[in-house]
């Protein structure tokens, strides 16, 4: 299942930044530099961004414009980062957020 639109009838060829790798939990994924982290995750098939504090209910992209905060994750060690408006950079560490923190530290940097 490919989520990336290669060519669009109105917008033509979709131009994106160079391919970069980043960490998603303990997996190495690829995305396009500068696109929202959420877009890269979506293209990689990731739907669940976080689990709520009380019930552990899964949450993902909802508004995609930085308003609803449903898509927040732990990015480079910092929690509550709105992945739908935060640009992807090479080597970023993106972790599923449980409540307000990553469940367990992984091997990536920034998780002292």
């Amino acid at each position: 299942m490919n989520s990336r639109i290669e060519e669009h009838p109105i917008l033509g060829k979709i131009e994106k930044g160079r391919r970069v790798t980043f960490w998603y939990d303990d997996k190495k994924l690829e995305g396009c530099e500068g696109e929202p982290i959420a877009a890269a995750l979506k293209a990689a098939g990731v739907m669940v961004h976080r689990h709520t504090q009380k019930y552990g209910a899964p949450r993902g992209i909802f508004c995609a414009i930085g308003r609803c905060t449903d898509c927040v994750m732990v990015v480079d060690g910092k929690p509550n980062i709105r992945t739908c408006i935060t640009p992807l950079a090479e080597g970023m560490t993106v972790q599923t957020q449980y409540g307000v923190s990553a469940k367990c530290a992984n091997k990536a940097e920034g998780m002292a």
Binding site: M1, I5, R59, C63, I85
Partner: protein, 532 residues
């Protein structure tokens, strides 16, 4: 603390338009926007706008966005991005969060153009990943080139729901159903019709009962509602989907104005709580203006005009122009704005059931409930005539402020007249040349060229086509009727693309004469033995 003549909050269509106008008169203007890019929602809008020339009709939203940014650059408007205005205080002081710090600015005039936020409907499972706003779908596919899902159900039949559904199809997704609890389609009939003829089914008087799935959406159940909006047992229908989109209205984001102490009103027709403004968009606080969706939910075309009016009014308020210049400049804009606010979808008509057009034609209930006309209804409208040879068939049945078809026709076959909401009338004596300009110019994709004398026993139908892959001449497939049902086999006999058509391709298909007034879409695909 930095000072500006005019501080604009929001770099969308209203805010940028206001900034441009104010800058023209020499005001020192700054625009703050919390997003990384200016333009608001314009860059997500890949469809052609309605209206007339003065409203930039038949131009696609993202192109209007580029024009507006160019204009802002030209007049030296300063736009500060990733800057969230957090407060609007006494004496027009604003606090802005930029990175991790709060900065103070002071304006002599303020314009709030923060737009609106999407409404939501809660149902069982609505927080599951895969349930998204229609705006999210638009952002993901048109800005970031990512489809929100493969199989999608859309809730909401207003223009947002209809337009985004069509954009989902253009991005290669399947829209399994369009659902609305209302008994009639809320948006333009032409937007519904262009979905219906691709085969998207409409479920009016239906609502979502639940979204299914544990970690993300895997399906959805809808059901029919009675007059009390309760689900009628036994009417449940299930669809396998991976996404559910909600397009259930917008609410003005007027918090800053409320905080500043502007007099507010609750106005459901304007989308909720809005500031009370005068004709220039000035709120109850002198020098504080509002424009665009924040002062009443409409669309980008009117937001841009409101912005320009407020920008000019701010210039007058600060003494850069006099009252005479103000009323001169604003007069023209006001009449442009008024013409957009006419017709069946005007503010005062919201929620009303309109049975006849301004001209007295019956409004098709079938169109409002199913998304398409019954065949016998089509001939009633003045854009549909029976003629020898090639001619335009305009399936436009609602009084919408839109008239590009009239300007597009070099032979003057199409007449709308002074009132831009009037239904287009096809003049049988004007001599259609079959150029197709009207087909491409119609933002509602409601114009077809029909030639019942194409070949012995065969007619040709030329239709607008905005999908990939573009069929090729000689390709065979199916002709679909207005409901999206296969009615006969068809052969593509001509494919026209032109910069003048702006990505609306013209596909001419050959069908048996009896199908000339039925065939309205083409689907590629082999037809095996069935067709012989």
């Amino acid at each position: 603390m930095k000072r500006y003549d005019l501080i604009v909050v929001g770099a969308g269509p209203a805010g940028l338009s206001a900034a441009v106008e104010a800058a023209k008169y020499g005001l020192k203007v700054v625009v703050f926007d919390e997003n990384a890019n200016p333009g608001g929602q314009l860059f997500k809008q890949v469809h052609k706008f309605f209206g007339s020339k003065e409203h930039k009709a038949k131009i696609r939203g993202f192109r209007i966005g580029s024009q507006l940014l160019e204009e802002a650059n030209q007049f030296g408007v300063e736009v500060i991005l990733n800057a969230t205005v957090a407060g609007l205080f006494q004496d027009k002081e604003v606090t802005v969060r930029i990175n991790d710090s709060i900065q103070h600015y002071k304006g002599d005039a303020i314009l709030i153009a923060t737009g609106a936020a999407e409404n939501m409907v809660p149902f069982k499972g609505w927080t599951l990943p895969g349930v998204i706003g229609a705006g999210a779908a638009q952002t993901m596919m048109n800005l970031h080139g990512i489809v929100p899902g493969q199989k999608i159900l859309m809730l909401g039949s207003g223009n947002v729901g209809l337009v985004v559904s069509y954009q989902l199809l253009q991005a290669g997704c399947e829209v399994v159903a369009l659902v609305d609890a209302a008994s009639k389609i809320g948006g333009y009939g032409v937007h519904a019709a262009k979905l219906a003829r691709t085969g998207v089914p409409f479920y009016l008087s239906h609502t979502i009962i639940k979204a299914e799935g544990t970690d993300c959406v895997t399906g959805v159940t809808i059901g029919e509602v009675n007059k009390a909006w309760q689900v009628i047992p036994g009417t449940e229908k299930h669809f396998d989907v991976d996404s559910i989109c909600m397009a259930v209205g917008l609410s003005p984001m007027a918090q800053l104005l409320k905080m500043a102490g502007c007099v507010m009103e609750d106005n459901p027709k304007k989308g909720g709580q809005v500031p009370v403004c005068n004709a220039y968009g000035e709120t109850s606080i002198r020098g504080v203006f509002a424009a665009g969706d924040v002062s009443g939910v409409e669309e980008a075309s009117s937001a841009m005009i409101e912005g320009r009016i407020a920008g000019i009014a701010a210039a007058e308020y600060l003494g850069y122009i006099d009252k005479v210049t103000l009323s001169d400049k604003v007069g023209e804009l006001e009449s442009a704005l008024n013409s957009l606010r006419q017709g069946m979808f005007a503010l005062e008509n919201r929620g009303k059931c309109i049975e006849k057009t301004e001209e007295g034609y019956d409004v098709s209930l079938h169109l409002l409930q199913k998304g398409y006309f019954q065949e016998q209804e089509v001939a009633n409208y003045p854009g549909v005539t029976v003629q020898r040879g090639v001619h335009a068939v305009i399936e436009c049945s609602q009084n919408i402020p839109c008239n590009p078809c009239q300007d597009a026709c070099p032979k003057h076959c199409i007449k709308i007249g002074e009132r831009i909401t009037s239904l287009p009338v096809v003049d049988e004596n004007a001599g259609c040349s079959g150029c197709g300009m009207c087909v491409a110019a119609c933002s509602g994709q409601a114009i077809f060229l029909v030639n019942e004398d194409y070949e012995n026993g065969y007619a040709s139908v030329t239709l607008p086509y905005e999908f990939l892959p573009l069929p090729e001449k000689g390709e065979r497939g199916w002709a679909l009727d207005r409901s999206g049902s296969k009615v006969c086999t068809a052969e593509v006999v001509k494919v026209q693309t032109s910069p003048a058509f702006d990505c609306t391709n013209l596909l001419t298909i050959k069908v048996p004469v009896a199908m000339a007034m039925k065939a309205r879409f083409f689907r590629e695909g082999s037809c095996h033995a069935e067709c012989e």
